[in-house]
Assembly symmetry: C2
Homo-oligomer: 301 residues x 2
């Protein structure tokens, strides 16, 4: 195989009480990544959403880091050309950097027939995330690779649990900047035991609801986070207003990743009214999509 083109989806991490653990693959938006064998070295080109904010230096681009690490570990003698078409705005809370990391790992596995497992792909992809998030976070790359819903239940060794899931979601992307650093700093250093117990209970209720296919329970428990959301909602002007206005139209609404992206689980037949409210408050891009199945191959030759 000389060349491979893949679709790598946006992902929504945290989902309330699942902070730093849960992740959901979306069908839209998505990046398109093309890898081709080349003479020597690694080259990167980026176009599309926020491309100007994305470095093309191998060691500073999440896809570049992943390709570099795989080339090193598998002693690949050839070069690789990376072409990224960004469909996911960087710093959106929709896993933009993760889409590139995961897409690159997946594509390298196919291009050089490396036979890597999904878990190994997540490990390589999270190396890419360590440059954008400062830590090899797996909570966005995991759903990008596995699709559906994932939980990162351990690091060192990395352990990812996957649940296939299928329901509608609405994602809003307010035109607001939320620095990941600020979103981390606003969080409390320590929390009460009661808060931990609340979040453990709500998070476990979400896992239970996925196996029981009870989207109402899933949404209700997702909104039960008493630790992270109360702080991060302050960083997204209009969020609490939207949350109040659509509370009877949805099973749940929460902040996607560190925001400003917002993920909504709509009730049947309420999409248009939800869109009206989003338009009224934010007048921003809105994706009416459903849970995705992860990275897909578009072309290979």
């Amino acid at each position: 195989m000389e060349k491979i083109k893949v679709i790598s989806p946006a992902t929504s991490a945290n989902l309330g009480p699942g902070y730093d653990i849960f992740g959901l693959a979306l069908s839209e938006p998505y990046d398109t990544i093309t890898l081709s064998r080349s003479g020597g070295g690694i080259s990167i080109s980026v176009k599309g959403e926020g491309a100007n904010k994305i470095p093309t230096d191998v060691d500073k681009n999440t896809a570049g880091v992943v390709v570099r690490e795989i080339i090193k570990d598998f002693n690949i003698k050839e070069g690789v050309k990376i072409e990224i078409e960004k469909g996911i705005r960087p710093g959106s809370g929709l896993g933009s950097s993760a889409a590139s990391s995961a897409g690159a790992a997946f594509a390298m596995n196919e291009l050089f027939n490396l036979n890597l497992s999904k878990l190994e792909l997540v490990k390589y992809a999270s190396l890419g995330e360590s440059i954008s998030a400062g830590f090899p976070h797996a909570d966005n790359v995991a759903p990008a690779i596995y699709g559906g819903f994932t939980m990162v239940v351990n690091y060192n060794p990395l352990e990812v649990l996957h649940i296939p899931v299928d329901f509608e979601v609405v994602v809003a992307l307010p035109d607001i900047e939320v620095s990941t650093k600020k979103a981390r700093e606003i969080l409390p250093d320590s929390i009460s035991l009661r808060s931990m117990v609340n979040n453990v209970g709500k998070a476990c209720g979400m896992i239970y609801s996925l196996f029981k296919k009870d989207v109402e329970l899933f949404g209700r428990c997702m909104m039960g986070d008493s630790v992270v959301e109360p702080y991060r909602s302050q960083l997204i002007p209009g969020y609490l207003e939207v949350k109040e206005k659509i509370k009877d139209l949805v099973y749940g609404i929460t902040i996607s990743g560190s925001g400003p992206g917002v993920i909504i689980i709509p009730k049947e037949g309420k999409i248009s009214r939800i869109k009206e409210v989003l338009d009224e408050v934010w007048a921003c891009p809105v994706y009416h999509t459903k849970v995705g199945t992860g990275i897909q191959i578009l072309e290979r030759n």
Copy 2:
């Protein structure tokens, strides 16, 4: 119906990262509770394990409180005689007070044909627990009523989620006193966000494993509690020694409730060697049992 006799099982609450939420019904040990319609007022008699440590004053006995509340709410004109035969040592961490609370609620429902749901029975039973635990804790009474595995994911309103479960357990009851008050006080007032994330992940891993019937994953995640167990293990001399000596013989071991009871999920064929170690370190009562199905009716007439 004039009289009803029920078996009310021991239960193991917390199970590591499920602190204050998870509960498991055991088949052994158990209390036997007999309720009979009587002329007037409520009378209580207690015999068996630790009976001398259990008050027979209605307002101080968990079964008495439950019966009193039900009589009041349903305007029952008759009296009730409560006979409790304790098979579960009080203050054992095996839900001794809860067994009486839950058994009384269940038996009243049958005796007076009140048509209460399981959730309502748990609500009444947790009233009994408020006198022994100072708070209407449901994490022991819930598995006693539902059987199998339960999660108390919310209070006010009370929400209990149930998963039918079936695997072997070994329960050891060291002859040690652990005051519930001390077991609460030894816990930290606040914990780091990282610790919460660890416990949420491990607890969710346990729920996942129950649906997947993966007892190895269940035990491993159960032992992943980084918040409560490190402190409470200090209150049970010999616990860390036992934990070390049997680590290759078990899927998991943790403290039951606030201890000193210890719950062990044994690997196949390792029971006798586990018992040897328990005998060597504690020489205490050991129950080789399995997850129970909750309260059972023995007789009614």
